[in-house]
Subunit: 307 residues, 2 copies
């Protein structure tokens, strides 16, 4: 693998993802200099104290001067605004990338705002925790996770390889995908689960007859699985839903339709319908997660006994 | 603590919960004899091989003769049927209990079917895994979990204490609750989360444009949190929804209402509404789980710096 060392890399937006990228860049010595920018002065101070960048900058355009790679790690809604601001400051031949959870709207922006001489590779590391801010980042965040690239048409293969190399060093697997397909896949695997989690946690608080302490005590019955992702960054998620409107509304509409069918079956005590649905679901789950996951002990045991 | 040893305890239904109870009874030497009954001969054979009971029985009424305590650990729908069958076989002064996830319908049954001389203590250990069957049980399953009792009016305090003592030895905390309140609390903390999980896993499979492999690859974005509980026992869950119809329909109705409001906000791009909802949700979650959970590192660090 070509362990190319870059002269300067800039990370814009130093929250959970941005600060984790800084840590990983430093850990694996990817570049001679890491510059961190954040519009929030308190965040910059924290990052300085953490010693995860070589210098901080409170001037957006200055921060990217002569940078080989610029990572924009802010909420999806602000990525085009920041990119627009940077349009004339980026180094010729450099890579501009981002880490937003929506790719269609980002690619649309770059199609209508041409960045001459810059390799624009919108990307999405499918990684994160429910915590926000630079103190919660860690360099191992990307290990074993996928990073999806949706490169613009005119980027060089070398640029794609360089960025892929970095994510691979971080421990991620890289896949190139069409941005519309990305947004649909993520709508079902990430955006809808988050929306549902936000919704159920809010609902638990609204039901007047139930004390908060009851929700906490009995959350082991299933609820707890939902609360973790419901405490994710509100601004980030607001932007995700606004920017992936079509796909989210499509999957959400179908989700509500299916849920209404289950509701009807419960109301009419249609046990056969429920049982069939749940059996199918279990089969899907088992099929999905069977590969080497140590499941099906019953069957394995039976096979051993028979042989 | 009164470490009373019982002469004989019968466990009916030897799945995940029943077999875990057998294991815990044996581990803590609660009784001189554990008898296991299951209508499924294969399950009985497995339990025999596992050596977690002192004897197996394929005759329901024989299995409970002279038992001090009978645990019914079958799906909720079959509990009244089994109890009815046992009505004339139970020992005078013994305890009859169950482990069903719904308590209202069970208590209704026992109110209209009086069990003369038997201490009926419907109960619900809020514990479980997504796996089913006797091979997946383990004696530690109940440690740190709550077991909710909804005792019938005429049971002796001694019987409640005896059963409470057993669950405490198993590592659980016991709470006595009104069955209607139990069913509402569990509807939101367990039944609705399961229904939603079944629904979203089914939906992921239905969306034609998405390959199964995409769902697996990118499930770290949130989806994976839902799949675990969606592979729970279909029959058990069918019975839960049929037997807790009113409470589940109530919380499900409100869940769909709230979700429709979020859908509308996304459609109309009402970012303020979304942001406010998500901030509230995060606050609720943090409030709920803050007590000694090592959260709020930012704030703690700030306090330390200021002091």
């Amino acid at each position: 693998m070509d362990n190319k060392t870059f002269k300067k890399i800039t990370v814009i937006g130093l929250g959970l993802i941005g600060s984790s990228i800084c840590r990983a860049l430093k850990k694996y010595r990817i570049t001679n200099k890491i510059v961190g920018y954040d519009k929030n002065q308190q965040v910059l101070e924290k990052v300085k104290n953490l010693n995860i960048v070589d210098s901080i900058s409170s001037n957006l355009n200055d921060s990217v001067l002569d940078s080989d790679i610029v990572f924009i790690c802010t909420p999806v809604g602000s990525i085009p605004i920041i990119a627009k601001d940077l349009q004339n400051s980026l180094k010729n031949g450099s890579i501009l990338t981002d880490t937003g959870s929506v790719k269609g709207s980002i690619c649309d922006f770059f199609r209508t705002n041409h960045f001459e001489g810059v390799n624009v590779i919108p990307s999405h590391p499918v990684a994160g925790t429910e915590k926000s801010g630079p103190l919660h980042g860690f360099h191992e965040l990307f290990i074993g996770r996928w990073c999806i690239f949706t490169p613009m048409a005119n980027v060089s293969q070398q640029a794609i390889n360089d960025l892929k190399n970095i994510w691979t060093i971080f421990g991620s697997k890289v896949e190139i995908m069409d941005p519309t397909h990305h947004d649909l896949v993520l709508a079902i695997t990430s955006h809808l689960p988050h929306l549902i989690s936000f919704n159920i946690v809010g609902l638990a608080n609204d039901i007047e007859k139930i004390k908060e302490s009851d929700v906490v005590k009995y959350s082991a019955g299933g609820f707890r699985d939902f609360t973790r992702i419901a405490s994710s960054n509100p601004i980030m998620w607001r932007d995700v839903f606004l920017n992936n409107k079509e796909a989210v509304i499509e999957v959400l509409g179908r989700f509500i339709e299916d849920l209404s069918a289950l509701q009807k079956a419960i109301r009419w005590e249609d046990g056969d319908f429920l049982e069939e649905k749940f059996i199918n679901t279990r089969d899907i789950r088992n099929k999905i997660f069977s590969a080497g996951q140590g499941e099906f002990e019953d069957e394995k045991l039976n096979k051993i006994k028979k042989s």
